[in-house]
Symmetry: D3
Subunit: 167 residues, 6 copies
């Protein structure tokens, strides 16, 4: 089972080997992040949503449910993300005649920020909305000429001032 004097792989051999950044020296402080994004739908689909006629279920409920599940699933979807003990989250919606905007707030006491968790939740919520209305967005060829997810961004990040004893 002996391994003969192995040659260490040099930086010339490998291109940017990924790693998960070491955050062990950072203090645990309160973090908050708000992210949002928008899905553009047909006006006719928005009207069906308004009148509660989507066969697969209410898009706002499904988006909220899936957003909260997605927050907890972030370290599994985002390879380099640290697992963070999420302590709260809420979901809000804006709508126009042809779009729904999802806004997710995430709160945690942790060594690193929670904006990726909020972004992941927004993204999963928008995809769930698409999924439950897809039947109404397809054209005759089964294509989606109008449906678009857009403008996923971080609205704001916030962290408590570091307490003095924190490193």
């Amino acid at each position: 089972m002996a391994r003969l004097v192995p040659r260490k792989i040099s930086s010339k051999d490998l291109h940017s080997i990924p790693k998960m950044i070491d955050i062990s020296g950072k203090p645990v402080i309160k973090r908050e992040a708000v992210a949002e994004g928008t899905i553009y739908l047909r006006k006719s689909t928005m009207e069906l949503i308004e009148s509660g006629k989507i066969e697969k279920g209410d898009p706002f409920q499904i988006a909220t449910f899936s957003a909260i599940q997605a927050i907890k699933n972030t370290p599994s979807s985002l390879v380099m993300c640290h697992p963070i003990p999420i302590e709260g989250s809420s979901v809000e919606f804006d709508k126009t005649s042809d779009s729904i905007t999802v806004r997710v707030k995430v709160v945690a006491s942790s060594k690193t920020g929670v904006e990726m968790d909020a972004l992941n939740a927004v993204s999963v919520a928008l995809l769930n909305i698409w999924d439950v209305v897809k039947k109404y967005e397809k054209n005759d060829q089964g294509q989606y000429p109008d449906t678009r997810i857009a403008d996923i961004h971080v609205v704001r990040k916030f962290k408590e001032a570091k307490s003095e004893e924190g490193k």
Copy 2:
């Protein structure tokens, strides 16, 4: 990519949008919860279990294994549950001539209680028992006239006295 002045969705528009409660202000204290539940089986199945003749494996072992896995999987099954760093758990069984009772204890140092985690473990353990004996519980029509899971409840919750600085 501009979003035109969106109308904020009011409480009149949406029915109880779910949220994950914010526990960030609560202190980390030691928590403990014990839950239990019972599965009713045929006497003949219980005798097969007693004599170690269940083809799929020993129900007590499988129940214990799956209970401990389920505790760690609680935030994924229960939408509004916070992820909690579980620090210990144990599983016990009672039996009668036609039932098995599963009792699960969960321990953690956390900002919220662990009773849902214990209940989830009990529930998954009972389902695993059902699964490994299902062949012996079916009647001629492939139905389960006798098998029932019942009385899943919290035996007790406990938390350490809050330290003075905690809220």
Copy 3:
């Protein structure tokens, strides 16, 4: 790396080593299963649910989402269950003044039945209902004297007649 003549572990040495039953020789046929179960809650909690005042969200919506997710998660919770490509499911509710009954139907074309998937969905749905109303079910000591999950059972299983050649 040589392994010296190992002694085969005999049935005398090991107690019912579990296994996943081989279903490869069975035909793919249409399967259906309906399971249900009940959670008993306080009348006061049921009134809050009726009036849409549960802070964490609507229990029926959350129960439905989590039931459907649970169906897909069954092979992960139930150790000896085969992965089954679920093709449809629906969730229904009954209620009395102090209880909610969840009924889940699961449909699949598969080599084995889907009753465990339906039972798992019922069980997870009931736990999610508990979780979103737990604040209203606790007494002064933080205990749950009234809350119970009961009577989880298979309402019926059904499978298509096997086609002659049983592919």
Copy 4:
């Protein structure tokens, strides 16, 4: 354990109870879907990527892995999606001086389309790119004034002609 004559919940009581559509009667045919989306980054970040200087790892590699994992994870992120036995996928990239476009193709033999799986993969890939370059996108206040995910859409869906006996 008796349940007294329960009142069936009517459509007046519940708002669009969600369900997973029954696809059991549809034929298994070959499906393909291509989706894409774009992340807008700072020119300086794009230059770092070009010169292989991203500390957390190569964004194209990480985006590709996470896209392929995400395809397989779609039924878990998208509540109403059916589990589909994915049979192949590939990932391509376009870039400009301030953006990366991810394009994912998914292939499967299944009873329903795979566009949601492709969209989910694109979305997760874009979030992973954001995550590995986030250090270079933050301003002095730790905010992300420039980073945006945009234009996630289905490029095309395709399915084999239905065989005559299929529905």
Copy 5:
């Protein structure tokens, strides 16, 4: 939201972009694979196992459960693996005075082989054995001078002769 004529990333720019091989054209045939591997432990630990004195539980039971769960989890651990509907599996053990060998058989009707699933199960089973006996394998400095996992390999693969046209 327009994307300006993007430059296609060439093979000069990117190093072996990974992909999941397209197996959609292959026939569904019966597959079987057997893999095994060995963990070397202290003689004193093996004696504790023999006498049923391992505090965390019986290593053979835990290894078996975790092996069967691992088979189903293979597409999540192995990035380029296709999801395969596993139809059966069994686990066997050999032992010597200082080692345990785990052998896992996996059966499926699928378009690609199941040897990676069997290897993954063996590997996870061996790690679970290590985990439950780790207390007895550590020396005074908390190190593991003796514990080794070795010789993980495929014992044999098997597939049914392809039917003539490869359906």
Copy 6:
């Protein structure tokens, strides 16, 4: 729903019921573990790897990606492992003309060690390497006469001196 005076299952009845050890009384201190393992491949496969010709993707990238994901997935694969908030990890490789050695370092501030997490990551990384090169390792009968995973072990564990108030 009454449970008749149940008989407590005694240690005579059950063989080492597994449990997750209670670590709630242990202090949170910084932990580090390094594990490694080796996969033996054909010289011809190693040459293909060197020249970047592996169709499924670069083995070093895939191994690194999957190792980091595996660390976060350890409590799910290893039944009795506690969930640990991982704070950093890195992956290194050695190679000879017929082998690749994977070395994984894991860092966390926790109540228990992280060596199982590092071992799990090494093991999953090696399996991913096997998976992406399996086409080049098979002989004419589709068997793997040369491929072996070997010598998975803990290189070193380390923990900070316990602070005075810790136990």
